[in-house]
Amino acid sequence: MKYTGIVFLLLSLLLCGNSMAQSSGKRTNLYRNMLEDGNIKKTYWQAQNNQNELQTAFSGLFLFYKTFFSSQDLTVCTFTPSCSEYGILAIKSHGMIKGGLMTMDRLTRCNGLSPQNYEFDKKLMLLKDDPTREPLVPVVASYK
């Protein structure tokens, strides 16, 4: 056990010894991202991985709306995911008819009058309402 330890040490010395030199001096690269980079471009994962033509078509509509309309607006939706994201996710996971109905219903619920009905996302300061997820109560505690 002792010898294996020594062999391991020697090996690791051999492997890592040459990278010792760089630790001195001002390491400017660490601070490259210290300031915010001001990038406000968004990417939409919701429009990716389309399974069929219908999903591609709706994803196209979604991207069109996001690029030319939603981009000209501040956050106006009270929910996360937003209504348009909810729409594309609902159609992708429940089909056009049910997903469409869910979206129309969501549009009427997007009024901010009943915040007590939803969980709250503290980071985004928005109400949580995900069409793909049903809230479940955990059975077993995560602390004992």
Binding site: T28, E36, D73, L74
Partner: protein, 271 residues
Amino acid sequence: MKRVIFLMLITSLSAFSQGIEESFLFANSLYENQQYQNAVETYKRVLFFDSDDIYGPQSYKKMADCLYETGEFAEASYYYDLAYFTHSGTEQADITLQKISCHLLLREYNLAQVELFNLPDSLKENQTEQKVFYEAMLAFATEDFEMAEELFKDIAPDTLAVHELFRENDKINKLSPKKAKILSIILPGLGQFYAGDVKNGLNSLLLTGGLLYLGAASAVKTSILDASISVLPWFQRYYSGGYNKAEAIAEAKIKERRFKVFNELLDEVEN
């Protein structure tokens, strides 16, 4: 019988390896070899079994360094704090400098400032250089550009280039988000053009213009009431959205350009 003796010997001999002292040395060697994650775990084990508090004072600094190297700056800062009280003299200054770095990387500028005040007056040459570097970055991050310029000129070899970069930085100050907003209130898209975002400027102009046309056409064809019910809400939404967005775009542009200047300053320091 022989087997029993053999077993006895084996069990007692193998037990010699990796006592607390050896584990500590092993952790140190892992640290020297930049196996930081493993080193942290080994130090944690040593600290747990170190009931007489012998190894703790020797471990904190290295543990903090390991955490720093693995990007756990908040936890690193905690261990630097512990290390500070178990070291003295120039080592304390080194530790404080590392803490300042942690706070800067976590964007905790006030805490970084507090630690800077905490540094002793007499520092070694390389420590002073490090201190000025941190002060320079802190001044830039807190938008004290006059101070930042002075400090960066102290540490960068090419002061002329630094001077140029700060003149570039001065130009950014001229871009005003408020002005962008007002411009877009006057004419949708104008503020975006002013901030240098042509794509969003055109987008806003066409969108609000289109809605305005739609409203006017519908007012002529049907009635003003109809037009205001069907088009006005949309126009209002994208008009006000547009000028608020212009402000946001200008703010982002400022950040983007500052980010660029900051990185070019770092290039200058590196040279």
